[in-house]
């Protein structure tokens, strides 16, 4: 496998250090550049050309006119904005008000600095053109009162409210084809169009024309970088002059042509990435996927030819890393900010796993990438290791060493389970193996699937509404059906039947909204460049946002499974089984948020079977809950020919969902965060990590599109060879039991508390949130508290 095993060189070199510092020390700003250029293109072309062509011309206008940036020291070039950390806005999706911009500028967390000129342009140019016409406006116009009531109550969130559907990953095609190759293929399709017999001929023609324009746009963009590099070279001193000339030569070759070298491969992907995230895919997880698999052939060939050594390869990858970190996710506002309060764009690089032929995919680049993660310690890109039973233990141990550093990456996935999940959804075995995980924990067939996350779903809120016979106690509104006064329920079965009815209603309202949103995007917001990159959009002449991909999936992400289970366990034990208190009293206690009822709260906390302890009394309830949501969602058709699937992940939504929920029968007080993913309720798991893993593994992960399990370890547990081995064995065993994903915070609660008190001393403390890591200081106080409250697995 490995072509060389040169001794590892620790740390980054001076060039990388400077680039990294620039990336870390620059305050995020908001750039109006993209908004202005898109608006110009719409003013010029709208109404004169078809929608796909309009979108393509907008991309071409952007890439032909946006500022070209080549930062000092860079080897891989290109920025979405006019400078590092400058975030674009997407007025065609969400037209921010001037007030939004002021809030974005001033807010304490996840701010973007907005200057006066930007505010003026937004007010005078962007708002007058886009107000009422952005996708957000079209969507909100179409939503029913029922949908709005549920949305405002916090039953669910809506991803597409401020961003376009994207959520897919690049496969190997951009390392084998240049834009010219895609153009040639598109030309062949156009030439073979049957305008007589094919009723979709015109639509296909427009789609292909649009795709072709996008390929040109990418080539123009690269050539502008080449020209800028040559210009800078004229006045640069050596060795920078030679570097700039090499950058120019690289940008002349890719992305027009398929890359020939390791460097060209990285620059190729980077131009493609910028194309995707400039076109539409804002903060939606586009990423190079199996980077180690894709880079290895280039690496091997160059090592053998003697044109590259390991340290040069590592330097290039580290320069590439900085490019990701320079692109903060575009600014969010409102509920969308609450569900995803982070700068991260969710690009999540897969390392290890298996190759499409099923063989062990770990190679020298896999190990090199682990070193890069440890060196760089940047928020972006996110990283994960794919662990198959075919991968060597050495790889797991090397990954465990990085995990032990305490940054929360890489997260850890069970490749063998991922493949089975994809197969169950109907992917071919080759497509399943070439797939992996992206965003937080979502499975997908890379380069061939549109797998859209639609929004989070608050199961605990549904329980609360059910306990109030369809009324949301926060607003007093009847938002759900009347499923009966719970005081009249005779047993848990009665209660579960009512719960299922409520779930059915809310899921229907959610899906009805999703269906309209899906149709709106299919109609008004094609993504022709993303379509070039995703099979079979070219073959079908159909857009990514309109079912063009080979596989189309929509996910609903369920939140609060841990709390829901523990609530049911409490009700079962104390109301129906032991009769410690009746339903009437329980409802009164909850209404009073346990004020004056600390004894009952302690009883719920301490004398109730809880999920996460390998206790079947509680675990059987989580299994029943899973069956309910699975039955109500899985396999339902989407508007563009795909299927709905379920997932269990929260990003930061469990904090927001907790805010809208009153006190719950598991002993949780009102407004506190819910549990995240499939993790037990914070502090409810008392029997160590093996019991958590056993409980979590009782869920049928293979019928989901991803589950998220967080574990927090005191650093001393994982010290030494023994600790490393213990971590490896925990991972291997969870995966032997078909678990999907696990991730680790290796930091003590005391350290976190100390960081909360003295943030200035912990500016570089990175922690695992949900499917991503973030600076502890970037998190809201509520989110920080949630992480502190998670059970800390101690030394035994």
């Amino acid at each position: 496998m490995a072509t060389q095993t040169a001794a590892r060189e620790y740390g980054m070199n001076e060039r990388v250090r400077r680039l990294r510092n620039q990336s870390l020390q620059t305050d995020p700003t908001l750039s109006i550049e993209r908004a202005i250029l898109v608006t110009e293109a719409y003013k010029q072309y709208q109404g004169k050309v078809s929608l796909p062509v309009l979108r393509a011309l907008a991309l071409k206008h952007l890439l032909s006119n946006k500022a070209i940036v080549i930062n000092d020291d860079e080897l891989i070039v290109g920025e979405r904005g006019p400078k590092p950390q400058a975030a674009s806005t997407f007025p065609e999706l969400c037209c921010h008000t001037v007030e939004d911009f002021r809030v974005i500028d001033k807010r304490e967390k996840i701010f973007f600095r907005v200057d006066e000129e930007t505010l003026r342009q937004q007010e005078q140019v962007i708002i007058p053109f886009w107000q009422g016409k952005a996708m957000r406006d079209l969507i909100m116009d179409q939503m029913t009162q029922e949908w709005r009531d549920c949305y405002e109550a916090g039953i669910y969130t809506e991803f597409m409210e401020q961003r376009a559907p994207g959520h897919t990953v690049c496969d190997d095609k951009v390392y084998k084809n240049g834009m010219r190759d895609f153009k040639a293929r598109i030309a062949r399709e156009l030439a073979s169009l049957d305008y007589i017999a094919d009723p979709a001929a015109y639509e296909k023609q427009e789609q292909w024309k649009a795709m072709d324009i996008c390929c040109d746009a990418l080539i123009i963009f690269a050539k502008r970088h080449a020209a800028e590099a040559r210009r800078l070279a004229q006045t640069a001193a050596e060795p920078r002059r030679s570097e700039l000339l090499q950058i120019a030569a690289t940008c002349e070759w890719v992305p027009a042509n398929a890359p020939r070298t390791f460097r060209e491969a990285l620059q190729m992907y980077w131009f493609v990435h910028l194309g995707v995230i400039t076109e539409l895919n804002n903060w939606d997880a586009y990423c190079p996927g199996h980077l180690d698999h894709h880079l290895f052939p280039f690496y091997k060939a160059e090592i053998e030819a003697g044109s590259l050594n390991r340290n040069e390869a590592k330097e290039l990858v580290e320069c590439f890393w900085v490019k990701f970190n320079n692109q903060p996710a575009p600014p969010k506002v409102g509920i969308t900010l609450k569900e995803s309060g982070t700068y991260t764009d969710f690009c999540n690089i897969n390392i290890g796993g298996i190759l499409p032929d099923g063989s062990d995919g770990v190679n020298e680049i896999s190990y090199l990438l682990l070193e890069v993660i440890e060196d760089m310690r940047t928020l972006q890109p996110s990283t994960n290791v794919q662990i198959s039973r075919k991968n060597p233990d050495k790889f797991v141990i090397e990954a465990a060493k990085v995990i032990r550093e305490g940054m929360g990456f890489p997260s850890v996935f069970n490749t063998d389970s991922v493949v089975e999940e994809l197969l169950r959804q109907g992917k071919s075995i080759e497509d399943a193996r070439a797939g992996g995980t992206s965003g937080c924990v979502e499975v997908g067939a890379f380069g061939k699937e549109a797998y859209i996350l639609t929004g989070y779903f608050n199961m605990v809120k549904v329980l609360e509404v059910m306990l109030n016979n369809g009324v949301d106690p926060r607003s007093g509104k009847q938002i759900g059906p009347q499923t009966g006064d719970p005081r009249n329920f005779k047993n848990l079965d009665d209660l579960l039947a009512a719960f299922e009815k409520q779930m059915q209603y809310f899921i229907d309202v959610d899906i009805r909204g999703n269906n309209v949103i899906e149709a709106l995007y299919a109609k008004y917001m094609p993504a022709p460049f993303l379509s070039v990159l995703t099979d079979d959009c070219i073959a079908k002449g159909r857009d990514y946002n309109n079912g063009g991909a080979r596989y189309n999936t929509r996910y609903i992400q369920f939140v609060g499974l841990g709390n829901l289970t523990d609530c049911l366990s409490s009700i079962q034990k104390h109301v129906y089984s032991d009769g410690t208190l009746d339903m009437n009293r329980l409802l009164a206690i909850l209404k009073d948020n346990f004020e004056g009822y600390e004894k009952e709260r302690q009883l719920f906390l301490n004398k109730t079977p809880k999920y996460g302890n390998d206790d079947d009394r509680a675990d059987s309830l989580i299994m029943s809950m899973f069956e309910i949501l699975y039955k109500l969602v899985n396999g339902r058709p989407t508007m563009t020919g795909g299927y709905y699937r379920v997932e269990m992940l929260p990003t930061t939504c469990h904090v927001y969902f907790g805010e809208v929920c009153g006190a719950t029968p598991d002993g949780r007080k009102a407004k506190l965060a819910l549990s995240e993913g499939i993790s037990p309720v914070q502090g409810a798991d008392k029997h160590g990590p093996t019991a958590v893993i056993k409980s979590a593994a009782k869920l049928d992960h293979q019928r989901t599109g991803g589950t998220l399990l967080n574990q927090k370890f005191s650093p001393s547990v994982l010290s030494g060879e023994t600790g490393l081995d213990g971590l490896k064995n925990l991972i291997r065993t969870y995966f032997r039991l078909d678990g999907h994903h696990i991730q680790f915070n290796v930091v003590s609660s005391d350290t976190l508390r100390e960081a909360q008190e003295n943030p200035e001393n912990y500016s570089d403390l990175i922690v695992r949130v949900a499917g991503y890591s973030d600076y502890f200081n970037n998190l809201t106080t509520e989110m920080q508290n949630e992480i502190i409250d998670r059970t800390e697995q101690q030394n035994f």
Partner: protein, 300 residues
Amino acid sequence: MIEGVVGNIQKFSIHDGPGIRSTLFIKGCPLICAWCHNPESISFEVQTIWQQDRCLGCGDCLSACPAQALRINESDIARDKSICRNCGECAEACPALAWKRHGYRRGTAEVITDILKDRAFYESSGGGVTLSGGEPLCQPEFSLEALSLLKYQGIHAALDTSGHASWEILERFVPLTDLFLYDIKHLDTVKHRQYMGVDNDLILSNLEKLASRAKEIWVRIPIVPGVNDDEEHILAVGDLIKRLGIKRVHLLPYHGLAENKYRKLDMTYTLGSLEPPSAEKMQQLHNILQEQHLEVHIGG
């Protein structure tokens, strides 16, 4: 089926033998080592522990106590130990876990069923189960039956022991134990009696006999500053175990983390001011044994 008094089952034990293990703590120990970090395992009885900081003051324990041994004493609850029957009704009634039972009486089958829940971890890590305590040799019938059930299930079993039992008892453990974790605390019998409360003759003669019969033995030496950490002593232990053909030895540095447990158990901790051995000291002792060609590990 035989019943025993168990302290608890500790899952994800990675310092009591190879791989991921569950450690079955068996209550009761004939030794009284001042540094014992499992003081809750010294008593042979199930114990009722009081944690005042958790008390809500609800008074449920007072009405639950059949012996009327409890009364409110300002903000605390006082237990009259002379009439307390140690029945555990207070812990049953307490919602806040301020009264908590440590240990339970249970049959081997039930204990093993619990232990088998983590079987997948033992099997994929090369781990298993460790019987510890307390002193598992003090409840020999219970321990032996547990070990034979584990053997039937094909699970690797280790026995963590002080070796302080008659050879007739220890001998019965040999065929059922895959690995002995055998403590040597002091070679000097006077000091042994001073710190452990018993002589070491039996322990050392048992080790001699065991060495030629056991499948595998790892010797463990708790390193307690000022008690047994002088170089001559460690050298002498090295000589002994080398002579017996034992290859692996673990040095367990003393730590004071158990002090809090003593307080909860209403026991006196006499080593409050003792500092743990330094990393350099541990390394120095490690090197002494390594020079005797032993496989030395610091920690479990």
